[in-house]
Amino acid sequence: MMEKIKDFLEAAGWPRLIIGLFLLALFITAPFVEVNIFTSLSDVIVRFGMWGILVLAMVPMVQGGCGLNFGLPLGIIAGLLGAVTSVELQLTGLVGFFSAVLIAIPFGIGLGLLYGILLNKVKGDEMTIALYVGFSSVAFMSMMWLKLPYKSPDMIWAYGGTGLRTTISVEKFWYRALNDIWTIQIGDHFYFPTGMIIFFAFMCLLVWVFFHTKTGTAVTAAGSNPEYARASGVNVDKMRIISVILTTVLAAVGIIVYEQSFGFIQLYLGPFWMAFPAVAGILLGGASVHKATIMNVIVGTFLFQGILTMTPSVINNIIQTDMSETIRIIVSNGLILYALTRTITIKSAKVKA
């Protein structure tokens, strides 16, 4: 028995266990401080579905050996282009949603290809550079949103301004297009977005299948041991680019799923900080800078979004103060910090002639 507990502890890992227990405690406390547990649970599930694919988008790059994708906003931009174009074409419902995805994918592939080529040139410094690629692409697109020739009156400023609005409502188009497939509504408070969760599961399956194909195995090999992979005839640079493209496309799809549930497209500086919750999520799930699995994604997203949803409602009701933002900052960055400082990897000494 003790052995079993020990094994479980080792497999789950302390950070997950502590956060998991904390989350459980929050759920138990909730009814006592007049927080409706069904609404909370439903919120956690919806946010889990919204963030799931964005967190999943971390996996290919980590597996390909390019580290955590702080450049997630780049993929998000591809998704935004798809979403905005779909609204411009006045497409509604599932047709609107899937055309947004289809339009976003080529942008994702294109941007991912360039991003991958860049990351191949800067091996060893991927994460820092990814951070700034993400930031600068958001700022660059802010200029573009002002200038791109979109005409739909649903998206441009009614008067007194030029360019697209900062937030665009998708209510008339594909609001909850995915969520509302086979949705389950129990009472007034509990709502289960079946369609979105199925879609997330499907994307997980696709990624899982990919990593079991020949190319997928080569990507993992290139990531875990580049020298060995090269010796066995794997084109490491090509595999890294494939992993980056996959990451970027997943991010593009992920943001569209996020938006159809959220109800708004956020342009301009909206995608600026979106990499951080995704990075924190996968790290909480037990991933490291070098290895990430789909299980990490599912566990991490659920725990992290759970904490983010529950802490404000419960803690605020207890101490009557809104500390949610501060708690979010400390928890998410604390997790990233923990992951960055955990494994001491000594990079092989620089080659000097």
Binding site: F70, L118, K121, V122, K123, G124, D125, M127, T128, I129, L131, Y132, V133, F135, S136, A139, F140, S142, M143, L146, K147, T162, F276, V289, T321, M323, E325, T326, I327, I329, I330, N333, G334, I336, L337, L340, T341, R342, I344, T345, I346, K347, A349, K350, V351, K352, A353
Partner: protein, 375 residues
């Protein structure tokens, strides 16, 4: 190696090595006429900004010597400085004494934060920059916990002007009436109507002398050795970990003083925002001045501040003339600040990889030649 020595390559190398400053000079030449600003205005603006930012940018130099790259953790020092300023404002101290008192109060905090950051970075060798960046966010959360929730409730603050109406937490903006420009104007000097903050520049000059002197000390030499190769340094008996921690502590303390200088010049403190952008702006400025992650000089700092801030002042106006919209210029400014860091870091990493590859190839040629002669 012969390829590297040829003359064409030397010129090409000069351009590659100074690509970022050259780009910025071209930008300035192109954009200044378009912005339609008077030269007097630009000069006055540059003098103010040199006084405001020099100390902060110079605070970045020492970790670079120790091979730890750009220390995004200077925001930790900035936060410490702001805590000091809050107390000084609470006690109602005036003028230059307030300035020095703020430094004295925040110094221990800065040393502590720097020491902690140093330990964290020792656990993240090879990815110091990302780690120090996230560290800034993390401590920002702790800072909010302290300033927004504890001050006025757990930590007594009596000055109602700086406390939020709800009774605890510090206001978003604090008017630093007590010490606005107190250091800048200690030795008054005006040339052609442009105010020169003499005392601030004297402080900056003292820091420059300190850095030059510091490089020659035993500790400075140790840092350089650690920066070049940690293993070799360790074998030579240098306490690598301790040296790296000291580099970050010094940088954090300097940033703390730098932030106090910066805020006395501006005159208002945005309690929850003033420190946030400091790391990014200082690092962008240093990189624009031609520094790299592995090499940065005092000259880089000053050239960088001038070039970066010319862009900063000129871009919105130039954007308006060029595109008919000031908003584009705003975004352009944000874009350039981030893109320049991305480009400078990418160029450096690329060059480093290229050199490593070149070194490998030259070895390979040697063995082939050796094989050829032996046959």
């Amino acid at each position: 190696m012969s390829i590297l020595k040829s003359k064409d390559n030397k010129i090409a190398r000069f351009f590659i090595n100074n690509a970022v400053p050259i780009l910025f000079i071209l930008f300035a030449v192109f954009a200044i006429p378009m912005a339609d600003l008077s030269i007097e205005y630009l000069v006055a603006e540059m003098i103010t900004r040199l006084a405001r930012y020099s100390f902060l940018v110079l605070a970045l130099l020492i970790p670079v010597i120790a091979g730890m790259g750009m220390n995004f953790g200077i925001v930790l020092g900035a936060m410490a400085g702001q805590v000091g300023l809050i107390f000084v404002m609470d006690w109602g101290v005036m003028g230059v004494p307030a300035f020095f008192l703020a430094i004295i109060i925040s110094m221990p905090l800065a040393v502590f934060l720097g020491w902690m950051a140093g330990i964290a970075l020792n656990h993240a060798k090879g990815r110091e920059m990302v780690t120090s960046y996230i560290l800034g966010f993390f401590i920002n959360g702790v800072y909010q916990l302290l300033v927004l929730y504890s001050m006025g409730s757990i930590i007594p603050i009596n000055n109602s002007k700086i406390v939020l109406p709800r009774g605890y937490g510090i206001r978003n903006a604090i008017d630093l009436v007590n010490l606005r420009k107190s250091v800048d104007r200690l030795i008054p000097l005006e040339i052609n109507g442009i105010e020169i903050p003499v005392m601030t520049f004297i402080l900056v000059a003292i820091l420059c002398v300190f850095i030059v002197w510091f490089r020659k000390t035993k500790l400075g030499q140790d840092m350089r050795a650690v920066g070049q190769n940690m293993e070799v340094a360790r074998n030579a008996g240098i306490p690598v970990e301790r040296t790296r921690i000291l580099a970050i502590v010094i940088s954090t303390v300097l940033a703390c003083i730098g932030q106090i200088i910066f805020l006395q010049n501006i005159g208002t403190m945005n309690t929850y925002n003033s420190h946030e952008q400091i790391g990014m702006f200082s690092i962008a400025a240093l990189l624009v001045g031609g520094a790299s992650v592995a090499k940065a000089s005092i000259k880089n700092a000053f050239v960088g501040i001038i070039l970066f801030h010319i862009m900063f002042v000129v871009a919105p106006r130039a954007g308006k003339t060029l595109m008919g919209e000031a908003q584009i210029g705003e975004y352009f400014r944000v874009f350039v600040s981030y893109a320049i860091i991305a480009i400078a870091l990418a160029l450096h990493a690329w060059r480093k990889n290229k050199e490593a590859e070149f070194a490998r190839r030259s070895l390979r040629v040697d063995t082939e030649e050796a094989a050829g002669t032996s046959e």
